[in-house]
Amino acid sequence: MPIVGAARSRVDGRDKVTGGAKYTCDRELPGMLHAVVVPSTIAYGRVLSIDDRDARVATGVVLVMTHANAPRVNENKSSPQDAKLFLLQNDAVEFDRQPVALVVARTFEQAVHGADLVRVVYETRAPQMDLDAGEVATPAQTAGNQPAAHRRPAAQPALASAHAQVDAIYRTPTEHHNPMETHGTIAAWDGDRLTLYDSTQWAFGVRTRLAHVLSIDPSAIRVIAPFVGGAFGSKGTAWSHVPLAAMAARATGKPVKLLVTRPQMFGWVGHRPQTEQHFAAGASADGTLVAMIHEVRNETSLSDEFVEPCAVFSRDLYAVPHYTMHQELRRLAISKPTYQRAPGESTGGFAVESAMDELAYELGIDPLALRLRNYSEVNPDNGKEYTSKKLRECYTQAADRFGWSKRTAPPRSMQRNGMLVGWGMATASRGTHRGDSDARITMYPDGSVVLAVGTIEQGTGSPTVYPQLAAAVLGISPDRVRFEWGDTNLPTAPLAAGSQTAASIGSATVLAAEQLRDRLVLLGGNVPPEGITIEVNAKVDEAEEGRYAQQAFGAHFAAVEVDPDLLHIRVTRFVGAYDVGRVLNAKTAGSQLVGAVVWGISMALYEQTRFDRRTGRIMNATLADYLVPTNADIPNPEVIAVEDDDQRVNPAGVRGMGEVAMCGSAAAVANAVYHATGIRVRELPITVEALL
């Protein structure tokens, strides 16, 4: 069995099953104080006055920080991608649960009580919460510097003359990431030097932003990111509580722990924006697509622009000669949206893959046959050859396993035990990304190896899989390689998001291990007493990157049962095959794919942040009211990773697997619901009400 790809159990498994794994807020520093944020109770307006007299004299309270007494810091963005921070610098309120005060006390309970005693008087203005009426913001670019408007050539004339057409509006709601570990930070100053323990996907990004906010040199800041208890995009950036903890620690002269509460997770730490997507497609009688239009608008905040790049999904998938896309933003009185697992391609995939199902019914063609009819051997937008593409194999393997050929096409035609049965499918597609990464590898005379990269571990298996890659190059057991991570004192790593981590860290690991192997050969296999250390800087070569199109693909097949009387929907089966390049570890890879399928089912049936449109306040800011799937809601998804030795994509041979299984999976469920009921739901989540 080769080392890479082996189903190696997690090396941090023992720590994680015994309670020994230390997450940020598991740490206790001598003399540490506890901070609790007071969030705004209005969405738009300003703070007229804050009465903190009771809070200040409450037992244990050390500091009440408001805009009246907070130290002046630099709230401005250091780059256009930065989020505006809310650091108690003025009286403006731009969204529900914006920080308006911070209470610091000797114990957590005293800080919570102190925060309850702070009385804030507001001047409330009517918040803009209507996507139709929000101020239009036109972004120059979407994520990854891609154009926000694009055509090849215009779709409208071709669409009008097409044999069959679909043309509809699809909507996806605001969603909050809600990792099980809420955000948290511990800040400790030693003179002018700051140490931050932070639950983050990017310790280096936190350091850069904090240096900017506090006007100190980045070298004076060390960020330590121990085990991260889930993130899904919400921990990709330093949100307001991180500098607030540092400010409070400086003001009190003590280390400060700031834990974001679950209801505050709906405040200033990002969310997936609601989208409204106009999608139209036209095809000839045999199903050949002739034109597509994908016009997207998504909510953004008053002070930031975040594009949910839905149209990337339609742009890069099917062979369509006439294509027009457009992305637009609408400003609402909400906090800044951010990337949430599979941004753009999950929400865009819902619209496109639902519409493809509608088109299949319009044409009387099997939904899978329609996809195959429009299969693109090259990237349909730029004509580039793929590094590799095994989507056809994904369709075949998943359809066979699922038994798709036994499906009868008419809605409501399949029933079992009095339940309406529906089978639906969809395509998965997700761009491959990679960032610059450094790595350091040291071999000691006893043959043991330490591999170090300042990335993080959020459940993807970093300490387990990168040693496998290094061990394979060196021809040793992965048990001989220990991985060090989670610290800005280690070699620089990119943001752990966008399914780019294995491509980035993995490539740096392979290059470092190869150089170590070469050095070892030169030394005749003798390791000097101080060991052999290799440091690499694995930079992405833009020209080389642009030679081929890089994309992960897949095929989802879902079965649902709908109770004809109660209209309750259950996903009973899910089979997906995914084309992700090389699999580094069958065990951890399987978990990531299953997890992404669960997120797709969740997007289809459960998740939605609900706002009171009059006040702009969130109405379901708890895990009792914001629905995420429980164990009983989820079937046992069967996931297949289609084997592929992709030599062109990057030294690690991976195309990203944390997100692709979430792209289109919500549509597979929605299409199954249509097949079961004959009701086409174009707005997520699909609730009982939608089927009435």
């Binding site: 498994g13 099953v17 114990t107 889930g230 993130a231 065990k587 799937p629 009983a632």
Partner: protein, 175 residues
């Protein structure tokens, strides 16, 4: 003033030695060891375990009794430790994730979670495992659907549910 317990069970329970809102000396028996601490009556069992006994394996995911990350056993029964006050448990035997293994030897449920990859980030895992160990002792039928239902008080946002079920079914099989 003595803190009233206000339940039928309180009639048999010994009077609590806790008075007033200020910090009191409280002793909790966690994993068989006595932990003496000076805490206010409003401190939850979860915060007492984490912040005062220093056993940080038990996690705070919501502090509202909605996620199950703080699951511990009290006299063998699984509960959300964020929903109860520490001072109410001075006579109880509390078991946390740190008390599940037998020394260096993992409990079969812990070993199965590793084998079946029943976690990713690991943050909900201590609660899942304590809940699973208690569930097995409750004597439910060991089938897929029963396990899913019985484990639905513990949310896993990474989406490891199928692997959690496999691990519990494997660990629960008679040897």
């Amino acid at each position: 003033m003595t803190v009233p317990l206000g339940s039928a069970a309180a009639a048999q329970a010994p009077e609590l030695s806790v008075s007033g809102p200020q910090a009191n000396s409280v002793t909790l028996t966690i994993n068989g060891a006595a932990h003496r601490m000076t805490i206010e009556p409003r401190v939850t069992l979860l915060d007492a375990i984490r912040d005062h006994a220093g056993l940080t394996g038990t996690k705070k995911g919501c502090d509202q009794g909605t996620c199950g990350a703080c699951t511990v056993m009290v006299n063998g029964r699984r509960i959300d430790s964020c929903l109860t006050l520490a001072v109410m448990h001075q006579e109880d035997a509390i078991t946390t994730i740190e008390g599940i293994a037998n020394g260096e030897k993992l409990h079969p449920v812990q070993a199965a979670f590793i084998e079946y990859d029943g976690f990713q980030c690991g943050f909900c895992t201590p609660g899942q495992i304590v809940s699973a160990v208690a569930m097995l002792a409750e004597g439910h039928a060991l089938d897929d659907q029963t396990v899913r239902t019985q484990m639905s008080g513990n949310i896993c946002r990474c989406g490891c549910y199928p692997h959690i079920v496999e691990a519990i079914l494997a660990a629960g099989k008679p040897a």
